[in-house]
């Protein structure tokens, strides 16, 4: 069973924008990256999947349930791109509110609270008001909110956009840890180098259309160039005779190369 499956999913705003005819399958337990230039319809797609927008046509299921089914949301965590939380709540109170809305029992709440606060590194700041948090910390509390109900599927929209390099590394490690726990992670990010290191599969959309879906490494595995490392003095002779080379590395395309080629229409 797929964690996310869409068939000809379309969401348009009147005549314009949105996403059109997207058919996507996201395997369970994978870290899936959604890529696309600004205004490609990535956020629209994510919002339809988490139930913030109603689809115009097509089908979409998450964890085997239609996206319109509220019960499906019980098992989904979401970190929006423009995270805004009630600034007058403490980090802990914010999490408790989310916990209640997700129907956590008192025991579950205490367990999960400690666990997620430790994971996102905010255990010490749990009694502070969200308004006093830095941008990066607010993004961390957002991650904690998404993670609190122990969801099977996590939608993370630019989850490290406000974080410093150390924070980014921590979140990358967390994502891999959550994947190991069996969670499916749907990532929407501009940071291609980040996606490259952790994503199993990607989808690329442009102007609302799906350009590619699959294992990006399969595409990149066809090297077109090799990188040769050799002594400079040997260079001339090598040209003539084809002598000793210290290292020959096939230069695979990076995700960035692939992405740029795709959106450029190549």
């Amino acid at each position: 069973m797929w964690a996310i499956e869409t068939k000809q999913l379309t969401k348009t705003y009147g005549e314009r924008g949105g996403c059109q005819g997207i058919s996507l399958q996201v395997p369970r337990g994978s870290i899936f990256g959604l890529l696309g230039p600004n205004g490609a319809g990535k956020s629209t797609l994510v919002k339809v999947l988490v139930g913030l927008l109603h689809k115009t046509s097509g089908e979409a299921t998450i964890l085997g349930r239609p996206v319109t089914d509220v019960s499906a949301r019980r098992r989904v965590g979401f970190l929006p791109e423009n995270f805004r939380y009630h600034e007058w709540l403490t980090g802990e109170d914010l999490l408790r509110l989310h916990g209640v809305l997700f129907g956590l029992s008192a025991r579950e709440m205490e367990e999960r609270l400690d666990k997620v606060l430790n994971q996102v590194g905010l255990a010490e700041k749990r009694k502070q008001k969200v308004g006093t948090y830095s941008k990066g910390m607010q993004q961390r509390i957002g991650l904690a909110c998404a993670l609190l109900p122990d969801p099977e599927l996590l939608f993370l929209d630019e989850p490290t956009s406000a974080m410093d390099p150390v924070g980014r590394k921590e979140v990358r490690d967390l994502l891999l840890q959550w994947q190991a726990e069996g969670k499916t992670i749907f990532l929407n990010s501009h940071l291609l180098s980040e996606l490259e290191t952790i994503c199993d599969q990607i989808a690329v959309i442009k102007e609302g259309q799906l350009l590619y879906q699959g294992d990006w490494r399969a595409l990149a595995k066809r090297p077109k160039q090799v990188r040769v490392v050799m002594d400079e003095a040997e260079l001339e002779r090598a040209r003539m005779l084809g002598v000793k080379m210290d290292d020959v590395t096939p230069v695979a395309e990076s995700l960035e190369d692939l992405f740029l080629a795709m959106v450029a229409g190549q």
Partner: protein, 399 residues
């Protein structure tokens, strides 16, 4: 991924399906608690709920005053006799006119009228005293500034009433002198009784309606603002993506405003009773029950505005769009019966119109549901209609 993890995930899935269905008090109470804290922190809104009714009641209570009396009048008394002074005194006693300023000639009358120092002028001819004493017909001339028809009508009817009364007195006196006294009385005696508001005080008429107008303005604005603000700031998204049901979210968000509405209602009611001395004559229970009905209808309007507006400015503009016709068309100031049919119909589409009838019925006439059931029923229909529409739009409002 191991098969074990998969199985575990599926089992959790099954367990978690159950509690989501149906209304959850826990989720509702969680939102309610959050909203109460938020509302308490929103000091400007709380102040608005208390201060706005007071300010509006004072402002409208005194400004919207259609009682016309003490109209300034100039007098050109060319007769200067006891009879002429008597007629001036009779006009003063009516309290509708203040004939305090004496002038000489048409030029001065024109000056006084042009400069709005006077709204009416009385001209007593030189032979007035002689004509009265001699049993002839005396003529009094009155000019009235017709620019403001309400004042003009009041001035005209006052001078006519005083004139008729004085004429009748003189007639009786003359008949007495001729020995005919006692033989005849007035041919027609019109006996008048003014019901519900015997002194015809406009505050008595305005204040109950004003309570409705204040409730509408304060509550529609606050509700719409609060919901739009959350939408504008993006904090609503956080709640919508949880398994919360729209009805739980909505009720949780609206209930604090029922509280605020009640505070505004209580403040307005207390002001009406203790400041303006306007006390409800009918049932208090009915007054409170029907006010709750109106309050909830207004909440629904606020909700509807919030689902249409995407910014607070837009919400503000839409509320003004509601407020202006409410003042003009609901019967708050101008009687609806005299409006063209089209405007009557337009006024009929405003819930306040019916609440005003209810409030005036209970406050002034002391009547009960036996007379107010139609207006109550229409308010109920409004409530159900607007609430259904607002709920529908709210469910889709992030689209």
């Amino acid at each position: 991924m191991t098969p074990g993890i998969n199985e575990g995930a599926d089992r959790t899935t099954q367990e978690r399906m159950v509690p989501v269905a149906g209304f959850s008090w826990t989720r509702f109470m969680a939102v309610l608690k959050k909203e109460f804290i938020q509302t308490k922190r929103d000091v400007p809104s709380v102040i608005m709920a208390v201060v706005m009714p007071v300010v509006m009641l004072l402002l409208f209570g005194y400004a919207v005053n259609t009682d016309v009396d003490h109209i300034p009048m100039v007098v050109w008394d060319q007769s200067m006799t006891a009879d002429s002074r008597e007629v001036v005194q009779a006009l003063r006693n009516s309290t509708y006119l203040d004939p305090d300023q004496y002038v000489q000639g048409y030029g001065e009358i024109e000056d006084a009228m042009n400069s709005a120092k006077a709204r009416a002028a009385l001209i007593i001819p030189p032979d007035y005293g002689k004509a009265i004493q001699g049993g002839d017909t005396a003529t009094l001339q009155v000019f009235v500034d017709g620019a403001d028809p309400t004042t003009a009508r009041a001035a005209l009817s006052a001078v006519q009433a005083v004139g008729t009364e004085r004429a009748w007195q003189l007639q009786s006196e003359r008949m007495n002198l001729q020995g005919l006294g006692g033989a005849i009385g007035r041919p027609i005696e019109v006996e008048t009784r003014v019901w519900y508001n015997p002194e015809m005080k406009s505050t008595l008429f305005n204040i109950p309606a004003l309570i409705g107008l204040i409730l509408q303005n304060v509550i529609a604005l606050l509700t719409a603002f609060s919901l739009v603000r959350e939408k504008e700031r993006g904090t609503m998204e956080q709640l919508v993506v949880t398994p919360i049901r729209p009805v739980e979210l909505l009720l949780g968000k609206l209930v604090p405003f029922v509280g605020i509405g009640f505070v505004a209602f209580a403040v307005a009611l207390l002001m009406a009773i203790f400041w303006f001395d306007v006390v409800p004559q009918g049932s208090w229970v009915l007054l409170i029950l029907l006010s709750i009905l109106f309050l909830v209808t207004i909440l629904a309007i606020g909700l509807l505005i919030s689902t249409i507006a995407s910014t607070q400015i837009q919400a503000m503009q839409m509320t003004v769009l509601l407020v202006l016709p409410s003042i003009l068309l609901s019967g708050f100031i101008f009687p609806r019966e005299t409006m063209p049919l089209f405007l009557q119909a337009l006024g009929g589409m405003i819930p306040l119109t019916y609440y005003i009838t209810i409030m005036r019925g209970i406050f002034l006439k002391g009547v009960g549901l036996e007379y107010l059931w139609q207006d109550t029923l229409i308010l109920l229909v409004f409530l159900v209609g607007i609430l259904t529409l607002a709920m529908k739009k709210f469910k889709k409002n992030l689209d």
